[in-house]
Symmetry: C2
């Protein structure tokens, strides 16, 4: 089963940090709109397809395409998105994450973890794999903060070809000053790392996985944001087997260290071989240049559809088709 | 996977109609408390175990016992319960059903059906069976109203040894006068039967099943309330295979016509062979006298646990154990 956890971090409101949402006014809608795209094939909470400032479409359409081809079961779990999606969902009733350079990011990280842990406990026992994706604008920054707080080396990814590394460093430094943090400082208290420096999605997904039976087949569907979740789990002593499934755009991103970090965290990496290099649509073709890259569990949904026997060609073709429909192209 | 749909009908506020809740003031909590018992082994929205006026415990403890022994995946879906449960759940955001003798019971039955249908669509594709239970105080009366409106003969069950048949007849007559109903009157418009005479759980479960792939393995976990749902589905042309799993207390209840109705609706019946005849606890032993009988998907949860290899003896023993714990018995 595919689970989409939708959350938020006020980090996304820092100018220059997030590529999700065409402009800051739209960012609050992004995660909810992504859930609706997965669910209905189009957003319902807003009347526009989520795009980045340059018009590149949300990776939710890759996730949607994978679902249309493979029809795997899925559900949306809200963990602090600014708005609820229109589609049915489980609501863990938590707040959006605060900006860790200013405040404790997730003051009730333990409660969020526990609630999600109970959800994992109740949803455990399926024969299906548990493929878990996320949509959290600003989430690669909070991933960096948590990975470093837990002593994991390496730069995180970003949703554009130019990773705003300097800005992420500044937020890291400010956060450390605020709460006495530092590299490896919260290694012995991973939920403190989330509370001070993370976002509610991290607490929720870590709790959910922790609640599953230890032999559940877990696929964390994302790039460096899911590595941050895995770092939390490992620091808590969770020793389950896990695949971290992302797209080739993250795995090949030389500004980040996905494969090295996955290896150091004991995860089996998967890089979805998406290929839009011959797409007639600039918005998609630009994925090959490093725009968007990943999100909404795109890489893991692709993994799941492949697992269910759908070919790479059919998946990429379906993405093109949905994109054309969503954007109103005639072709 | 086990799904517990929790709803409500204002019918339960008519004195003498519902055995759920020790007194009318507690009835609003019943469905939510049942969900919490399944989830946590004890209620959280109130500080007391749901019991009927004579102290017989909720069948949720049978459902909980089945889960503890078999650890099948489950989730709670709220469809109009007076209160939300404390446990994680999907909320279909509908209102409690009105009293059909006074008003249209579910004015937005179509919207509830559609939302649940979308949930079924997204949750489809699992290898597990779909075992679907309910908790709706007053729900056997609305079941009768809908079954008759759709032209299905037979009396429904009740949650006590004395079925308040005369009272149910009175409500039926008043409802028919109000909306121009009658036996078979809404046969061609089953959602009108639910809208005028039913409850939101019926719309929700029918929609959910309708949204599943047609080859899904569906087990409706309940007695005559689930037959009402099946009658709605059949009247809509749904021709899927289905088991209706209840307890032996409903199947053997001579005041109702469970087996005959199941047969006429093309369902395979299952009657969980519960046996509390030698229970040291009067509350449980009285199940053998026709108290409570069924609810919270108890019969279907029992079916599911048996399917997963748990013995009848172990299941009944676990019910005794949980009951002792819940009620604070030392033994």
């Amino acid at each position: 089963m595919f689970f989409l956890f939708i959350g938020a971090s006020d980090v996304c409101k820092i100018p220059g940090i997030s590529a999700a949402g065409a402009n800051p006014a739209v960012i609050p809608f992004t995660a909810a709109a992504d859930a609706d795209v997965l669910y209905y094939g189009r957003p319902r909470v807003v009347d526009a397809v989520p795009v980045d400032p340059e018009g590149h479409p949300t990776p939710a359409l890759i996730t949607r395409a994978a679902w249309e081809m493979a029809r795997f079961p899925f559900i949306v779990v809200r963990c602090g998105s600014y708005l609820p999606p229109a589609c049915p969902h489980v609501d863990l009733k938590c707040d959006p994450g605060g900006d860790p350079s200013l405040v404790s990011a997730v003051p009730n990280a333990r409660e969020v973890f526990d609630a999600a842990c109970e959800l994992g406990r109740s949803m455990g026992g399926m024969k299906e794999p548990y493929v878990i994706g996320e949509s959290v604008p600003g989430g690669t920054t909070t991933a960096l903060m948590v990975l470093r707080s837990l002593g994991v080396e390496g730069m995180v990814s970003s949703a554009g070809p130019l990773n705003p590394i300097n800005l992420k460093e500044t937020i890291w430094q400010k956060g450390c000053s605020r709460c006495g943090g530092g590299f490896g400082a919260f290694r012995d208290d991973p939920l403190k790392a989330v509370r001070e420096m993370g976002d509610p999605m991290q607490a929720a997904v870590a709790g959910f996985v922790f609640g599953l039976p230890r032999d559940a087949r877990v696929v964390l569907a994302g790039g460096t944001q899911m590595l941050a979740v895995l770092a939390v789990l490992r620091a808590m002593g969770w020793d389950g087997k896990v695949v971290v499934a992302t797209t080739k755009y993250v795995a090949q991103d030389r500004s980040c260290a996905f494969l090295e970090m996955a290896s150091s965290l004991g995860a089996e990496p998967y890089a979805a071989p998406l290929d839009f290099s011959r797409s007639p649509h600039k918005g998609l073709a630009d994925y090959e240049k490093g725009y968007v890259k990943e999100g909404v569990g795109a890489g893991g949904a692709f993994w799941y559809a492949r697992e269910l026997g759908v070919s790479v060609e059919k998946l990429c073709g379906k993405v093109e088709e949905i994109y054309s429909l969503m954007m109103g192209f005639s072709g």
